[in-house]
Amino acid sequence: MKTIFEISRKDRRGAALPRPDLPRDIFEQSRIPENLRRAEPAELPEAAEVDVIRHFTNLSRLNFGVDVGPYPLGSCTMKYNPRFTEEVARLPGFANLHPLLPQLRRGGLLTQGALRVLYETEQLLCQITGMSAFTMQPMAGAHGELTGIMLMAAYHRHKGNQKTTVLVPDSAHGTNPASAAIAGYKVVTVPSKDGVMDPEAFEQKLDDKVAGVMMTNPNTLGLFNPHIKRIAQAAHEADAVMYYDGANLNAIMGYAKPADLGFDIVHLNLHKTLGTPHGGGGPGSGPVGVVERLADYLPISRVSQREDGSLFLNYDFPKSIGYIAPFYGNFGVTLKAYAYILALGGEGLKNVSRDAVLNANYLRVKLADKWQVAIDKPCMHEVVFTATDKAESFGVSALDVAKALMDEGFHPPTIYFPLVVKEALMIEPTETESKENLDAFVAAMAKIAQAAEKDPDSLHAAPRTTPVGRLDEVKAARQPDLIFRGTCPG
């Protein structure tokens, strides 16, 4: 498809601005003086509205989203996004609200509705996780991880502890060590045993330099670590903080709470577990919850309640780590999650986890005759398979499997993650896939297994039914073409 720059034609206009209601001379007087002006106008497109709408409509049709079909991307929880949450975020009372209003004198009174959304969402998240307090400021999961590590660092600083390292399991998502490193910590990896972080290895690596450990439970293999209490106890004895990566919360809502498992800090991904859309890569939201002893370090402002029930922005937390976001986080995303939680309620959220775990186990069992599961144990909301046997016997890799699935009408699972499994295929169906879709996925995978044996070249050539085939990523990295250089046609 042509780029919007190639569709441009000189002097076409897509949006009309309000007619000037001021005298001509004001326009003359207010011009930026020449020495402060840019030399040439920016070469932006010139297109009529119909051109713009057609361009982006056609682009959208090149995309596969959850709205198009099953998207079992492990670790991402690609569940269906209810439409009504989009309406909620667009209500003018929220969409048109300037974030500085509550910071004016008596400004809380101007924004009680918005403050109530923040306050109640925090309370609901406390209920879901068992934590004592939350901040909605982090604007993505990785941002939540960084915030959590900063809270950990503040806690240790105030205690006068000299901690320099953070432990992560070998199955950790890349954002875990990346976040710890950005916050100034050295990262040490703990090996797994039987698919979960090995408690003995953990205890061996636990010394007085360890600030904390970042884990998720169930882990990225979809396995619940039964030793979690032992791990938490050992960590707390060494005054190390237990951090929970909430990416996998879809497995345990209503069944277990991170606080009860011994965690001190939690981040959630609203765009995963709590139904807000993924947006093609954001905007997400990664709120962070903490146990009581860490609450003083949370970012400001926080929403507090007066005796009369009214809400206000509270900055009176001298030990706070400061501002993580310019305001109150991705409020438009918070709104959608709040609406989702209200709609589902406690029972509904528990049913979500129940069906998510049912669906993943159903796939685990049904795929087992043609595909090799990485760890032969009941899983939770996601399951990891390995294509090693196909790679060794037929030269068919996890990548080939992913590309072939596209031709079958499915978005592929996550591949090559977690790193502890070779030729990994990480499958997370979520609770919003029907039995027919799951059966269709199993059938497609069976077809691919057959093709791996009988006609592997057909898989190397996949995908064939998508708008483009496999792209030359090597060329893209060696000769980066990151900006369209053609001129807009005159």
Partner: protein
């Protein structure tokens, strides 16, 4: 209300195939003593009930106040076509385009967005977004620290104070020196820049709405081998000197003004563009254009070895999800306004702000603090505490501006007033009349 497709019959069938008798068996992996002891969330509601509740809460906000509040976040007109594109489910229910063949819509849009940002800033490469202007400033700072291997930063006091608080917060544990001073005068910068300076950070238009040429500042930085970081409102780049023309190495800022509603603080859009030489230390996703094995043009994520999913603790940043849908909004907005429309938009903003200055300085006791030139925002000094003045103006149905004392204690009587193309001549008139009445 839930969104679960399974009927009880489906579940029973599936459990039977698993050889289990009930759903509870699925959770046997969680030891009993670790199970949740209570689950006290309220019962679920229907869509109608949730909408009623949220509509009620929405109406408890003063969103109808005539908005003269800016301070980095502005009330601009957003054409309906922007949201129409964002509502396409193929765009908003997709995720990070790891599987390029199925994500060409997302990928090409990001490539076009990267191009638009480069054309606005004049720089060589743009990333696919960061969370907001403040985190973009932090990321730019870290790029400079890594590149120069120095640990001192100079930030001008006329840079958005909210971003300066964020910068302090993020760098607290990182052994960096943050020098905050008014370096609007390059002579002052010359006094304090040193061989420990990793970066000099300035903003244009600055927080007080003034328009500058920072070329000499950036030349100074360059002489000292420090990086130049310029924070700009991208709408203003329609007319003001571009970061590239001034010699900046990194341009970043808040893209909310490009078609995103105020939305009580987010989601917003952090943009970042850099010179060619810095691309490999750049945070965030990058989309590149390439071809497939049949020679068809296609797009994919590239230079991924900078990123967390490959480099983990050695990544240039931890960012994963960014603000992708917001970049789409910005791209559509810029495409609709177009090359000439953006300039016209700037002219409207400039003229309306000039008219407001005329009307407001005609009020006895009200004076301009600065000489200009300005973009669409300016400082006024009032004969009373600006917080009190604003509070009284709210009762007249207007958010008259931002009382600067909030972040600049020495400026308690100063008011920061923003005027965009949305403010009519009448509204500006009411602002002037209202202010005159209370002073």
């Amino acid at each position: 209300m839930d969104f679960l497709p399974h009927t009880d019959q489906d579940r029973a069938q599936m459990l039977a195939e698993l050889g289990l008798s009930s759903e509870e068996d699925l959770f046997a992996v969680i030891p009993q003593e670790l199970r949740a002891q209570n689950w006290n969330l309220p019962s679920g509601l229907s869509e109608m009930e949730v909408m009623d509740r949220l509509k009620g809460l929405a109406e408890q906000n003063a969103h109808r106040l005539t908005c003269f509040l800016g301070a980095g976040f502005y009330d601009h007109f957003i054409p309906a076509a922007v949201d129409a594109v964002l509502r396409r489910g193929e765009f908003y229910t997709a995720y990070t385009p790891y599987q390029a063949e199925m994500s060409q819509g997302t990928l090409q849009s990001i490539y076009e967005y990267q191009t638009a940002i480069c054309r606005l800033t004049g720089l060589d490469v743009s990333n696919a977004s960061l969370y907001d202007g403040g985190t973009a400033m932090f990321e730019a700072t870290m790029m400079a620290v890594r590149k120069t291997r120095r640990n001192s930063l100079i930030v001008c006091r006329s840079v958005n104070p909210i971003y300066r608080v964020m910068l302090k917060s993020y760098t607290a544990n990182l052994h960096l020196e943050l020098i905050e001073e008014d370096i609007t005068d390059p002579d002052r910068l010359a006094e304090i820049v040193s061989d420990k300076t990793a970066a000099v950070i300035l903003q244009n238009p600055d927080f007080f709405g003034r328009v500058h040429d920072f070329s000499s500042h950036f030349a100074l930085a360059k002489d000292n081998k420090a990086l130049s970081i310029l924070s700009c409102n991208p709408v203003a780049l329609g007319v003001v000197k571009s970061p590239a023309e001034m010699g900046a190495d990194i341009a970043m800022g808040e893209g909310q003004t490009l078609g995103l509603p105020l939305s009580f603080g987010g989601p917003y859009l952090g943009y970042m563009a850099v010179r060619e030489q810095l691309v490999r230390t750049m945070p965030g996703r990058l989309v590149g254009r390439t071809t497939d094995h049949q020679g068809r043009v296609g797009y994919c994520l590239t230079l991924q070895t900078r990123e967390q999913h490959i480099r983990r603790e050695k990544a240039t940043s931890n960012i994963c999800s960014n603000q992708a849908l917001c970049t789409l909004a910005a791209l559509v907005y810029l495409s609709l306004l177009g090359k000439k429309g953006l300039i016209e938009l700037c002219q409207l903003n400039l003229a309306k702000a000039a008219y407001a200055r005329q009307r407001l300085t005609a009020i006895p006791g009200v004076e301009l603090v600065d000489e200009g030139p300005w973009f669409n925002e300016f400082r006024l000094s009032l004969p009373m505490d600006a917080r009190v003045a604003v509070s009284q103006m709210i009762e007249k149905g207007m958010a008259a501006g931002f009382p600067l004392g909030r972040y600049y204690p020495e400026q308690a009587n100063n008011l920061l007033v923003a005027v965009t193309e949305k403010r009519t001549k009448e509204e500006i008139g009411y602002l002037a009349e209202g202010l005159e009445a209370i002073l």
